[in-house]
Subunit: 266 residues, 2 copies
Amino acid sequence: MHERERWRLILEAVTQGRVVTIHDLERILQVSPATVRRDLRRLEANGKLRRVHGGAEAVDSDKKHNLIGQEPFEHARLKNSQEKHAIAKRAAALCDDGASIIIDGGTTTYMMVEYLRDRNLQILTSSFPIAAALIDQGKARVIVPGGEVYRQQQVILSPFHDGIIGSFFATKMFMGAQAITPAGLMQTDPVLVQSEQRLMKRAEQVIALVDSSKFVQTGGLILCPINELDIVITDSNAPKSAIDMLKSAGVEVILVPASQSNAEAA
Amino acid sequence: MHERERWRLILEAVTQGRVVTIHDLERILQVSPATVRRDLRRLEANGKLRRVHGGAEAVDSDKKHNLIGQEPFEHARLKNSQEKHAIAKRAAALCDDGASIIIDGGTTTYMMVEYLRDRNLQILTSSFPIAAALIDQGKARVIVPGGEVYRQQQVILSPFHDGIIGSFFATKMFMGAQAITPAGLMQTDPVLVQSEQRLMKRAEQVIALVDSSKFVQTGGLILCPINELDIVITDSNAPKSAIDMLKSAGVEVILVPASQSNAEAA
DNA sequence: CAAGAATTGACGGATATTGCACATTTCCTT
DNA sequence: AAGGAAATGTGCAATATCCGTCAATTCTTG
Protein backbone atom coordinates (compact mmCIF):
# COMPACT_ATOMS: atom_id res chain seq x y z
CA MET A 1 0.00 0.00 0.00
CA HIS A 2 1.49 3.29 -1.02
CA GLU A 3 1.21 6.82 0.06
CA ARG A 4 -0.75 8.02 -2.93
CA GLU A 5 -2.98 5.00 -2.90
CA ARG A 6 -3.72 5.69 0.73
CA TRP A 7 -4.53 9.28 -0.08
CA ARG A 8 -6.89 8.20 -2.78
CA LEU A 9 -8.69 5.84 -0.44
CA ILE A 10 -8.85 8.43 2.31
CA LEU A 11 -10.38 11.01 0.02
CA GLU A 12 -12.78 8.44 -1.31
CA ALA A 13 -13.84 7.49 2.19
CA VAL A 14 -14.17 11.08 3.29
CA THR A 15 -16.23 12.17 0.33
CA GLN A 16 -18.37 9.10 0.60
CA GLY A 17 -19.44 9.44 4.20
CA ARG A 18 -18.61 13.08 4.91
CA VAL A 19 -16.74 12.01 8.05
CA VAL A 20 -14.22 9.27 8.72
CA THR A 21 -12.59 8.29 11.97
CA ILE A 22 -8.94 7.55 12.42
CA HIS A 23 -9.91 4.09 13.53
CA ASP A 24 -11.84 3.43 10.33
CA LEU A 25 -8.91 4.53 8.26
CA GLU A 26 -6.55 2.35 10.26
CA ARG A 27 -8.73 -0.58 9.41
CA ILE A 28 -9.21 0.35 5.76
CA LEU A 29 -5.58 1.17 5.07
CA GLN A 30 -3.98 -1.38 7.38
CA VAL A 31 -1.48 1.09 8.77
CA SER A 32 -0.69 2.58 12.15
CA PRO A 33 -2.64 5.55 13.50
CA ALA A 34 0.49 7.69 13.31
CA THR A 35 0.62 7.22 9.58
CA VAL A 36 -3.04 8.02 9.22
CA ARG A 37 -2.53 11.24 11.15
CA ARG A 38 0.42 12.19 9.02
CA ASP A 39 -1.58 11.56 5.86
CA LEU A 40 -4.49 13.59 7.13
CA ARG A 41 -2.18 16.41 8.01
CA ARG A 42 -0.77 16.51 4.52
CA LEU A 43 -4.16 16.29 2.89
CA GLU A 44 -5.44 19.06 5.07
CA ALA A 45 -2.46 21.21 4.12
CA ASN A 46 -3.46 20.73 0.50
CA GLY A 47 -7.02 21.68 1.29
CA LYS A 48 -8.46 18.32 0.34
CA LEU A 49 -10.21 17.77 3.67
CA ARG A 50 -10.62 19.21 7.13
CA ARG A 51 -9.32 17.46 10.22
CA VAL A 52 -11.57 17.08 13.21
CA HIS A 53 -10.94 15.47 16.53
CA GLY A 54 -10.89 11.74 15.96
CA GLY A 55 -10.87 11.84 12.19
CA ALA A 56 -11.54 14.04 9.21
CA GLU A 57 -14.47 15.48 7.30
CA ALA A 58 -15.02 16.58 3.75
CA VAL A 59 -14.43 20.20 2.97
CA ASP A 60 -17.30 21.96 1.19
CA SER A 61 -14.89 22.22 -1.62
CA ASP A 62 -17.26 22.80 -4.47
CA LYS A 63 -15.95 26.20 -5.04
CA LYS A 64 -18.50 28.79 -5.83
CA HIS A 65 -16.25 30.10 -8.52
CA ASN A 66 -14.94 28.07 -11.33
CA LEU A 67 -11.41 26.96 -11.62
CA ILE A 68 -9.60 28.02 -14.69
CA GLY A 69 -9.85 24.85 -16.63
CA GLN A 70 -13.37 23.86 -15.81
CA GLU A 71 -16.28 24.31 -18.06
CA PRO A 72 -18.52 27.10 -16.92
CA PHE A 73 -21.51 24.83 -17.31
CA GLU A 74 -20.99 23.08 -14.07
CA HIS A 75 -23.40 25.78 -13.05
CA ALA A 76 -26.13 23.90 -14.81
CA ARG A 77 -26.41 21.91 -11.63
CA LEU A 78 -26.89 24.99 -9.59
CA LYS A 79 -30.14 26.62 -8.80
CA ASN A 80 -31.77 29.06 -11.18
CA SER A 81 -29.12 28.69 -13.82
CA GLN A 82 -31.38 29.95 -16.57
CA GLU A 83 -32.33 33.01 -14.61
CA LYS A 84 -28.72 33.73 -13.83
CA HIS A 85 -27.84 33.58 -17.48
CA ALA A 86 -30.65 35.92 -18.36
CA ILE A 87 -29.63 38.31 -15.62
CA ALA A 88 -26.02 38.22 -16.70
CA LYS A 89 -27.00 38.90 -20.28
CA ARG A 90 -29.11 41.86 -19.27
CA ALA A 91 -26.28 43.20 -17.14
CA ALA A 92 -23.83 42.91 -20.00
CA ALA A 93 -26.22 44.92 -22.15
CA LEU A 94 -25.93 47.82 -19.72
CA CYS A 95 -22.31 48.43 -20.59
CA ASP A 96 -21.63 51.24 -23.00
CA ASP A 97 -19.03 50.56 -25.59
CA GLY A 98 -15.55 51.54 -24.50
CA ALA A 99 -16.58 51.96 -20.87
CA SER A 100 -14.59 51.05 -17.82
CA ILE A 101 -16.38 48.62 -15.54
CA ILE A 102 -15.73 46.55 -12.45
CA ILE A 103 -16.88 42.96 -12.14
CA ASP A 104 -16.94 41.36 -8.76
CA GLY A 105 -16.53 37.65 -8.14
CA GLY A 106 -19.54 35.36 -8.05
CA THR A 107 -21.38 32.79 -10.07
CA THR A 108 -23.81 35.20 -11.66
CA THR A 109 -21.22 37.76 -12.56
CA TYR A 110 -19.08 35.00 -13.97
CA MET A 111 -21.74 34.38 -16.54
CA MET A 112 -21.39 37.90 -17.85
CA VAL A 113 -18.14 36.88 -19.46
CA GLU A 114 -19.70 35.09 -22.38
CA TYR A 115 -21.91 38.08 -23.16
CA LEU A 116 -18.95 40.44 -23.02
CA ARG A 117 -16.93 38.38 -25.46
CA ASP A 118 -17.00 40.84 -28.31
CA ARG A 119 -17.32 44.00 -26.30
CA ASN A 120 -14.69 46.66 -26.29
CA LEU A 121 -14.33 47.42 -22.61
CA GLN A 122 -11.89 48.04 -19.85
CA ILE A 123 -12.63 45.62 -17.04
CA LEU A 124 -11.27 45.53 -13.53
CA THR A 125 -12.00 42.35 -11.63
CA SER A 126 -10.65 40.83 -8.48
CA SER A 127 -12.02 37.45 -9.45
CA PHE A 128 -9.34 35.18 -10.76
CA PRO A 129 -11.65 32.94 -12.82
CA ILE A 130 -13.39 35.90 -14.39
CA ALA A 131 -10.08 37.45 -15.33
CA ALA A 132 -8.92 34.16 -16.82
CA ALA A 133 -12.10 33.71 -18.80
CA LEU A 134 -12.00 37.28 -20.10
CA ILE A 135 -8.44 36.92 -21.25
CA ASP A 136 -9.16 33.62 -22.88
CA GLN A 137 -12.44 34.45 -24.56
CA GLY A 138 -12.90 38.17 -24.61
CA LYS A 139 -11.20 41.04 -26.30
CA ALA A 140 -11.59 43.55 -23.50
CA ARG A 141 -8.70 45.05 -21.63
CA VAL A 142 -8.43 43.15 -18.37
CA ILE A 143 -7.01 44.63 -15.20
CA VAL A 144 -6.53 42.86 -11.91
CA PRO A 145 -5.60 44.27 -8.52
CA GLY A 146 -2.43 43.09 -6.86
CA GLY A 147 -2.43 40.88 -3.85
CA GLU A 148 -2.71 37.37 -2.59
CA VAL A 149 -4.90 34.96 -4.48
CA TYR A 150 -7.25 33.25 -2.04
CA ARG A 151 -7.79 29.66 -3.01
CA GLN A 152 -11.21 29.08 -1.63
CA GLN A 153 -12.78 32.29 -2.83
CA GLN A 154 -10.64 32.56 -5.95
CA VAL A 155 -10.23 36.28 -5.55
CA ILE A 156 -7.21 38.51 -5.47
CA LEU A 157 -7.08 40.58 -2.33
CA SER A 158 -4.52 42.83 -0.80
CA PRO A 159 -4.84 43.64 2.88
CA PHE A 160 -3.02 46.95 2.73
CA HIS A 161 -2.30 48.42 -0.69
CA ASP A 162 -4.94 50.07 -2.68
CA GLY A 163 -2.65 49.90 -5.67
CA ILE A 164 -4.35 49.78 -8.99
CA ILE A 165 -7.80 50.03 -7.47
CA GLY A 166 -7.09 53.51 -6.20
CA SER A 167 -6.36 54.84 -9.64
CA PHE A 168 -9.23 53.12 -11.35
CA PHE A 169 -12.64 54.56 -11.73
CA ALA A 170 -15.50 52.79 -13.38
CA THR A 171 -18.85 53.90 -14.61
CA LYS A 172 -20.47 50.70 -13.42
CA MET A 173 -19.70 47.94 -10.99
CA PHE A 174 -21.43 44.57 -11.19
CA MET A 175 -21.65 42.44 -8.11
CA GLY A 176 -23.34 39.33 -6.86
CA ALA A 177 -24.39 38.47 -3.33
CA GLN A 178 -25.44 35.69 -1.06
CA ALA A 179 -28.78 37.25 -0.26
CA ILE A 180 -30.60 40.55 -0.39
CA THR A 181 -32.75 41.73 2.50
CA PRO A 182 -34.04 45.06 3.82
CA ALA A 183 -30.90 45.15 5.97
CA GLY A 184 -28.80 45.26 2.85
CA LEU A 185 -26.88 43.10 0.48
CA MET A 186 -25.57 40.08 2.37
CA GLN A 187 -22.46 38.02 1.93
CA THR A 188 -21.20 35.10 4.01
CA ASP A 189 -17.50 35.38 3.40
CA PRO A 190 -15.58 38.21 5.09
CA VAL A 191 -12.85 37.94 2.50
CA LEU A 192 -15.30 38.70 -0.27
CA VAL A 193 -16.88 41.49 1.72
CA GLN A 194 -13.59 43.28 2.10
CA SER A 195 -12.84 42.94 -1.59
CA GLU A 196 -16.25 44.14 -2.65
CA GLN A 197 -16.47 47.08 -0.30
CA ARG A 198 -13.19 48.40 -1.56
CA LEU A 199 -14.24 48.10 -5.18
CA MET A 200 -17.62 49.72 -4.63
CA LYS A 201 -15.97 53.02 -3.84
CA ARG A 202 -14.41 53.10 -7.27
CA ALA A 203 -17.58 52.98 -9.31
CA GLU A 204 -20.14 55.57 -10.17
CA GLN A 205 -23.00 53.10 -10.32
CA VAL A 206 -23.35 49.87 -8.36
CA ILE A 207 -25.39 47.14 -9.99
CA ALA A 208 -26.35 44.00 -8.09
CA LEU A 209 -27.12 40.74 -9.91
CA VAL A 210 -29.38 38.62 -7.73
CA ASP A 211 -31.70 35.89 -8.91
CA SER A 212 -35.01 35.38 -7.15
CA SER A 213 -33.65 32.68 -4.84
CA LYS A 214 -31.62 35.33 -3.07
CA PHE A 215 -34.66 37.11 -1.63
CA VAL A 216 -34.66 35.22 1.63
CA GLN A 217 -34.09 36.33 5.15
CA THR A 218 -30.72 35.11 6.20
CA GLY A 219 -27.98 35.96 8.56
CA GLY A 220 -24.54 36.96 7.44
CA LEU A 221 -22.38 39.95 6.84
CA ILE A 222 -23.87 43.12 5.54
CA LEU A 223 -22.04 44.07 2.43
CA CYS A 224 -23.79 47.39 2.02
CA PRO A 225 -27.19 48.92 2.75
CA ILE A 226 -29.76 48.78 0.00
CA ASN A 227 -29.65 52.49 -0.72
CA GLU A 228 -26.07 52.25 -1.88
CA LEU A 229 -27.22 50.17 -4.80
CA ASP A 230 -28.21 51.92 -7.99
CA ILE A 231 -29.66 49.05 -9.96
CA VAL A 232 -30.77 45.55 -9.04
CA ILE A 233 -31.24 43.03 -11.83
CA THR A 234 -33.34 40.01 -10.91
CA ASP A 235 -35.89 37.69 -12.44
CA SER A 236 -39.64 37.96 -12.35
CA ASN A 237 -39.94 35.24 -9.72
CA ALA A 238 -38.73 37.71 -7.16
CA PRO A 239 -41.40 38.48 -4.53
CA LYS A 240 -43.29 41.66 -5.21
CA SER A 241 -42.81 42.89 -1.65
CA ALA A 242 -39.08 42.77 -2.06
CA ILE A 243 -39.22 44.60 -5.34
CA ASP A 244 -41.31 47.30 -3.74
CA MET A 245 -38.87 47.48 -0.88
CA LEU A 246 -36.03 48.04 -3.30
CA LYS A 247 -37.90 50.64 -5.30
CA SER A 248 -38.88 52.57 -2.20
CA ALA A 249 -35.20 52.68 -1.28
CA GLY A 250 -34.57 54.43 -4.56
CA VAL A 251 -33.15 51.45 -6.37
CA GLU A 252 -33.93 50.89 -10.00
CA VAL A 253 -35.13 47.31 -10.50
CA ILE A 254 -34.70 45.52 -13.79
CA LEU A 255 -36.69 42.34 -14.22
CA VAL A 256 -35.82 39.63 -16.68
CA PRO A 257 -38.41 36.99 -17.45
CA ALA A 258 -38.13 33.83 -15.40
CA SER A 259 -38.38 30.47 -17.06
CA GLN A 260 -41.60 28.70 -16.15
CA SER A 261 -40.26 25.21 -16.62
CA ASN A 262 -37.73 25.64 -13.91
CA ALA A 263 -39.20 23.65 -11.06
CA GLU A 264 -37.82 24.11 -7.59
CA ALA A 265 -36.82 20.46 -7.37
CA ALA A 266 -33.08 21.01 -7.18
CA MET B 1 10.97 -6.45 -24.21
CA HIS B 2 12.00 -3.20 -25.78
CA GLU B 3 12.31 0.09 -24.06
CA ARG B 4 9.42 1.60 -25.98
CA GLU B 5 7.21 -1.32 -25.14
CA ARG B 6 7.98 -0.85 -21.47
CA TRP B 7 7.17 2.83 -21.71
CA ARG B 8 3.85 2.06 -23.33
CA LEU B 9 2.97 -0.38 -20.57
CA ILE B 10 4.07 2.00 -17.86
CA LEU B 11 1.95 4.81 -19.21
CA GLU B 12 -0.96 2.46 -19.61
CA ALA B 13 -0.63 1.30 -16.03
CA VAL B 14 -0.26 4.79 -14.69
CA THR B 15 -3.25 6.19 -16.55
CA GLN B 16 -5.31 3.20 -15.58
CA GLY B 17 -4.90 3.34 -11.85
CA ARG B 18 -3.62 6.89 -11.30
CA VAL B 19 -0.75 5.47 -9.25
CA VAL B 20 1.66 2.61 -9.85
CA THR B 21 4.33 1.27 -7.56
CA ILE B 22 7.82 0.29 -8.55
CA HIS B 23 7.03 -3.22 -7.43
CA ASP B 24 4.00 -3.44 -9.66
CA LEU B 25 6.03 -2.32 -12.64
CA GLU B 26 8.78 -4.79 -11.80
CA ARG B 27 6.21 -7.52 -11.93
CA ILE B 28 4.50 -6.26 -15.06
CA LEU B 29 7.65 -5.59 -17.03
CA GLN B 30 9.80 -8.36 -15.60
CA VAL B 31 12.82 -6.15 -15.16
CA SER B 32 14.90 -4.95 -12.23
CA PRO B 33 13.82 -1.98 -10.09
CA ALA B 34 16.79 -0.01 -11.41
CA THR B 35 15.43 -0.20 -14.92
CA VAL B 36 11.99 0.79 -13.78
CA ARG B 37 13.43 3.82 -12.05
CA ARG B 38 15.36 4.81 -15.13
CA ASP B 39 12.27 4.50 -17.27
CA LEU B 40 10.25 6.55 -14.85
CA ARG B 41 12.92 9.19 -14.79
CA ARG B 42 12.84 9.54 -18.55
CA LEU B 43 9.08 9.58 -18.70
CA GLU B 44 8.99 12.24 -16.05
CA ALA B 45 11.48 14.31 -18.02
CA ASN B 46 9.02 14.19 -20.88
CA GLY B 47 6.22 15.27 -18.61
CA LYS B 48 4.25 12.08 -19.18
CA LEU B 49 3.95 11.28 -15.48
CA ARG B 50 5.06 12.44 -12.08
CA ARG B 51 7.33 10.39 -9.91
CA VAL B 52 6.44 9.92 -6.27
CA HIS B 53 8.17 8.05 -3.53
CA GLY B 54 7.72 4.37 -4.30
CA GLY B 55 6.25 4.75 -7.76
CA ALA B 56 4.63 7.22 -10.11
CA GLU B 57 1.30 8.93 -10.63
CA ALA B 58 -0.52 10.28 -13.64
CA VAL B 59 -0.31 13.91 -14.57
CA ASP B 60 -3.58 15.34 -15.78
CA SER B 61 -2.80 18.95 -16.35
CA ASP B 62 -2.73 19.21 -20.12
CA LYS B 63 -6.29 20.43 -20.45
CA LYS B 64 -5.63 23.45 -18.33
CA HIS B 65 -2.51 24.32 -20.21
CA ASN B 66 -4.45 24.45 -23.43
CA LEU B 67 -7.15 26.66 -22.10
CA ILE B 68 -4.96 29.26 -20.60
CA GLY B 69 -2.06 28.96 -22.99
CA GLN B 70 -1.79 31.01 -26.10
CA GLU B 71 -0.31 29.82 -29.34
CA PRO B 72 3.23 31.09 -28.91
CA PHE B 73 3.13 29.78 -25.40
CA GLU B 74 2.12 26.31 -26.51
CA HIS B 75 4.59 26.18 -29.33
CA ALA B 76 7.56 27.00 -27.21
CA ARG B 77 6.64 24.34 -24.71
CA LEU B 78 7.57 21.51 -27.00
CA LYS B 79 11.15 22.40 -27.79
CA ASN B 80 13.68 20.69 -25.52
CA SER B 81 10.93 19.77 -23.14
CA GLN B 82 12.98 17.07 -21.44
CA GLU B 83 15.75 19.47 -20.63
CA LYS B 84 13.32 22.11 -19.54
CA HIS B 85 11.64 19.71 -17.18
CA ALA B 86 14.97 18.68 -15.69
CA ILE B 87 16.04 22.30 -15.32
CA ALA B 88 12.75 23.26 -13.73
CA LYS B 89 13.01 20.40 -11.28
CA ARG B 90 16.50 21.39 -10.30
CA ALA B 91 15.40 24.97 -9.84
CA ALA B 92 12.51 23.93 -7.63
CA ALA B 93 14.94 22.00 -5.47
CA LEU B 94 16.80 25.23 -4.73
CA CYS B 95 13.91 26.66 -2.77
CA ASP B 96 14.18 26.40 0.96
CA ASP B 97 11.02 25.49 2.73
CA GLY B 98 8.93 28.45 3.72
CA ALA B 99 10.90 30.85 1.56
CA SER B 100 9.54 33.74 -0.47
CA ILE B 101 10.38 33.49 -4.14
CA ILE B 102 9.57 35.23 -7.40
CA ILE B 103 8.80 33.31 -10.56
CA ASP B 104 8.92 35.13 -13.83
CA GLY B 105 6.84 34.21 -16.84
CA GLY B 106 8.13 31.75 -19.40
CA THR B 107 7.82 28.19 -20.54
CA THR B 108 10.67 26.80 -18.46
CA THR B 109 9.66 28.56 -15.29
CA TYR B 110 6.12 27.38 -15.89
CA MET B 111 7.31 23.82 -15.53
CA MET B 112 8.51 24.58 -12.02
CA VAL B 113 4.90 24.55 -10.89
CA GLU B 114 4.52 20.80 -10.81
CA TYR B 115 7.65 20.44 -8.74
CA LEU B 116 6.48 23.07 -6.29
CA ARG B 117 3.15 21.34 -5.76
CA ASP B 118 3.74 20.25 -2.19
CA ARG B 119 6.11 22.98 -1.19
CA ASN B 120 5.29 25.47 1.47
CA LEU B 121 6.29 28.72 -0.15
CA GLN B 122 5.26 32.28 -0.75
CA ILE B 123 5.35 32.94 -4.46
CA LEU B 124 5.08 36.20 -6.33
CA THR B 125 4.57 35.82 -10.04
CA SER B 126 3.54 38.16 -12.78
CA SER B 127 2.68 35.27 -15.04
CA PHE B 128 -1.01 34.60 -15.23
CA PRO B 129 -0.72 30.93 -16.24
CA ILE B 130 1.79 30.24 -13.50
CA ALA B 131 -0.42 31.86 -10.91
CA ALA B 132 -3.42 29.88 -12.14
CA ALA B 133 -1.52 26.60 -12.05
CA LEU B 134 -0.13 27.29 -8.62
CA ILE B 135 -3.54 28.05 -7.20
CA ASP B 136 -5.01 24.99 -8.79
CA GLN B 137 -2.31 22.47 -8.02
CA GLY B 138 -0.09 23.88 -5.35
CA LYS B 139 -0.43 24.74 -1.72
CA ALA B 140 1.84 27.74 -1.73
CA ARG B 141 0.67 31.25 -1.02
CA VAL B 142 0.30 32.95 -4.38
CA ILE B 143 0.68 36.68 -4.88
CA VAL B 144 0.23 38.58 -8.09
CA PRO B 145 1.04 42.19 -8.89
CA GLY B 146 -1.75 44.48 -9.99
CA GLY B 147 -2.06 45.69 -13.51
CA GLU B 148 -3.27 44.93 -16.97
CA VAL B 149 -3.14 41.35 -18.15
CA TYR B 150 -1.41 41.24 -21.51
CA ARG B 151 -2.98 38.61 -23.71
CA GLN B 152 -0.07 37.68 -25.87
CA GLN B 153 2.52 37.41 -23.13
CA GLN B 154 0.09 36.28 -20.45
CA VAL B 155 1.68 38.49 -17.85
CA ILE B 156 0.29 41.06 -15.48
CA LEU B 157 2.01 44.39 -15.84
CA SER B 158 1.42 47.80 -14.46
CA PRO B 159 3.08 50.73 -16.22
CA PHE B 160 3.23 53.01 -13.21
CA HIS B 161 2.48 51.49 -9.83
CA ASP B 162 5.00 49.43 -8.02
CA GLY B 163 2.23 48.27 -5.72
CA ILE B 164 2.70 44.89 -4.17
CA ILE B 165 6.06 44.40 -5.83
CA GLY B 166 7.55 47.23 -3.84
CA SER B 167 6.72 45.62 -0.55
CA PHE B 168 7.81 42.14 -1.50
CA PHE B 169 11.27 40.81 -1.09
CA ALA B 170 12.32 37.35 -2.13
CA THR B 171 15.35 35.25 -1.44
CA LYS B 172 15.36 33.95 -4.98
CA MET B 173 13.95 34.95 -8.32
CA PHE B 174 13.64 32.47 -11.16
CA MET B 175 13.52 33.73 -14.69
CA GLY B 176 13.62 32.46 -18.22
CA ALA B 177 14.97 34.21 -21.28
CA GLN B 178 14.99 34.19 -25.03
CA ALA B 179 18.76 33.81 -25.28
CA ILE B 180 21.90 34.21 -23.25
CA THR B 181 25.01 35.81 -24.73
CA PRO B 182 28.09 37.60 -23.42
CA ALA B 183 26.13 40.81 -23.81
CA GLY B 184 23.65 39.59 -21.26
CA LEU B 185 20.37 37.83 -20.88
CA MET B 186 18.24 38.59 -23.91
CA GLN B 187 14.52 38.93 -24.35
CA THR B 188 12.54 39.85 -27.44
CA ASP B 189 9.47 41.35 -25.89
CA PRO B 190 9.76 44.80 -24.33
CA VAL B 191 6.69 44.10 -22.20
CA LEU B 192 8.43 41.16 -20.57
CA VAL B 193 11.66 43.08 -20.13
CA GLN B 194 9.95 45.77 -18.16
CA SER B 195 8.24 43.26 -15.94
CA GLU B 196 11.38 41.27 -15.32
CA GLN B 197 13.64 44.18 -14.62
CA ARG B 198 11.27 45.45 -12.01
CA LEU B 199 11.04 42.08 -10.30
CA MET B 200 14.79 41.51 -10.32
CA LYS B 201 15.28 44.36 -7.92
CA ARG B 202 13.15 42.61 -5.37
CA ALA B 203 15.19 39.44 -5.01
CA GLU B 204 18.40 38.66 -3.26
CA GLN B 205 19.45 36.05 -5.79
CA VAL B 206 18.61 35.93 -9.48
CA ILE B 207 18.49 32.50 -11.06
CA ALA B 208 18.18 32.06 -14.82
CA LEU B 209 16.68 28.91 -16.32
CA VAL B 210 17.98 28.48 -19.86
CA ASP B 211 18.16 25.26 -21.81
CA SER B 212 21.08 24.69 -24.16
CA SER B 213 19.18 25.93 -27.21
CA LYS B 214 19.33 29.43 -25.77
CA PHE B 215 23.09 29.73 -26.17
CA VAL B 216 22.95 31.34 -29.56
CA GLN B 217 24.00 34.73 -30.74
CA THR B 218 20.90 36.72 -31.35
CA GLY B 219 19.71 40.24 -31.42
CA GLY B 220 17.11 41.54 -29.07
CA LEU B 221 16.68 43.47 -25.91
CA ILE B 222 19.21 43.15 -23.14
CA LEU B 223 17.38 42.14 -20.04
CA CYS B 224 20.39 42.40 -17.80
CA PRO B 225 24.14 41.92 -18.03
CA ILE B 226 25.50 38.49 -17.13
CA ASN B 227 27.10 39.63 -13.91
CA GLU B 228 23.73 40.46 -12.42
CA LEU B 229 22.87 36.78 -12.48
CA ASP B 230 23.78 34.66 -9.49
CA ILE B 231 23.01 31.20 -10.81
CA VAL B 232 22.34 29.82 -14.28
CA ILE B 233 20.74 26.41 -14.59
CA THR B 234 21.15 24.76 -17.96
CA ASP B 235 21.64 21.31 -19.45
CA SER B 236 24.88 19.61 -20.34
CA ASN B 237 24.43 20.24 -24.05
CA ALA B 238 25.35 23.85 -23.46
CA PRO B 239 28.59 24.81 -25.24
CA LYS B 240 31.60 24.73 -22.97
CA SER B 241 32.77 28.15 -24.12
CA ALA B 242 29.50 29.66 -22.94
CA ILE B 243 29.75 27.93 -19.58
CA ASP B 244 33.28 29.25 -19.14
CA MET B 245 32.09 32.69 -20.08
CA LEU B 246 29.42 32.54 -17.41
CA LYS B 247 31.79 31.25 -14.78
CA SER B 248 34.38 33.88 -15.49
CA ALA B 249 31.65 36.47 -14.97
CA GLY B 250 31.19 35.09 -11.49
CA VAL B 251 28.01 33.17 -12.19
CA GLU B 252 27.43 29.81 -10.61
CA VAL B 253 26.47 27.31 -13.30
CA ILE B 254 24.35 24.27 -12.49
CA LEU B 255 24.25 21.58 -15.15
CA VAL B 256 21.52 18.99 -15.42
CA PRO B 257 22.08 15.96 -17.62
CA ALA B 258 20.75 16.29 -21.14
CA SER B 259 18.92 13.45 -22.80
CA GLN B 260 20.80 11.86 -25.65
CA SER B 261 17.95 10.63 -27.78
CA ASN B 262 15.73 13.61 -28.05
CA ALA B 263 13.78 12.04 -30.87
CA GLU B 264 11.00 10.73 -28.69
CA ALA B 265 9.99 14.04 -27.30
CA ALA B 266 6.34 14.47 -28.10
C1' DC C 1 33.68 -11.36 -36.70
C1' DA C 2 35.16 -7.78 -33.75
C1' DA C 3 34.88 -3.25 -31.70
C1' DG C 4 32.05 0.18 -29.72
C1' DA C 5 27.93 1.90 -27.74
C1' DA C 6 23.86 1.36 -25.22
C1' DT C 7 21.24 -0.98 -21.88
C1' DT C 8 20.66 -3.59 -17.80
C1' DG C 9 21.52 -5.24 -13.11
C1' DA C 10 23.96 -4.75 -8.71
C1' DC C 11 26.27 -2.43 -4.69
C1' DG C 12 26.65 1.45 -1.20
C1' DG C 13 25.73 5.98 0.83
C1' DA C 14 22.02 9.23 1.46
C1' DT C 15 17.25 10.23 2.07
C1' DA C 16 12.43 9.43 3.11
C1' DT C 17 8.79 6.89 5.32
C1' DT C 18 6.72 4.05 8.84
C1' DG C 19 5.68 2.33 13.42
C1' DC C 20 6.24 2.69 18.39
C1' DA C 21 6.66 5.11 22.84
C1' DC C 22 5.60 8.99 25.59
C1' DA C 23 4.38 13.79 26.95
C1' DT C 24 0.62 16.89 26.13
C1' DT C 25 -3.86 18.42 24.71
C1' DT C 26 -8.74 17.82 23.91
C1' DC C 27 -13.12 16.00 24.79
C1' DC C 28 -16.68 13.78 27.45
C1' DT C 29 -18.77 12.23 31.60
C1' DT C 30 -19.79 12.71 36.33
C1' DA D 1 -15.87 22.16 37.56
C1' DA D 2 -12.93 18.08 37.74
C1' DG D 3 -11.28 13.72 36.51
C1' DG D 4 -10.39 10.24 33.13
C1' DA D 5 -10.16 8.42 28.65
C1' DA D 6 -9.23 9.16 24.09
C1' DA D 7 -6.68 11.69 20.68
C1' DT D 8 -2.72 14.30 19.13
C1' DG D 9 2.08 15.60 18.10
C1' DT D 10 6.95 14.42 18.24
C1' DG D 11 11.43 12.08 18.79
C1' DC D 12 13.71 7.75 17.64
C1' DA D 13 14.85 3.40 15.56
C1' DA D 14 13.86 0.22 11.77
C1' DT D 15 12.78 -0.25 7.21
C1' DA D 16 12.25 0.94 2.44
C1' DT D 17 13.40 3.77 -1.29
C1' DC D 18 16.34 6.70 -4.16
C1' DC D 19 20.55 8.13 -6.64
C1' DG D 20 25.17 7.60 -8.46
C1' DT D 21 28.70 4.49 -9.97
C1' DC D 22 30.48 0.30 -11.98
C1' DA D 23 30.61 -4.31 -14.08
C1' DA D 24 28.25 -7.44 -17.30
C1' DT D 25 25.38 -8.22 -21.08
C1' DT D 26 23.22 -7.25 -25.46
C1' DC D 27 22.72 -4.81 -29.60
C1' DT D 28 24.54 -2.36 -33.42
C1' DT D 29 27.80 -1.38 -36.98
C1' DG D 30 31.77 -1.45 -39.81
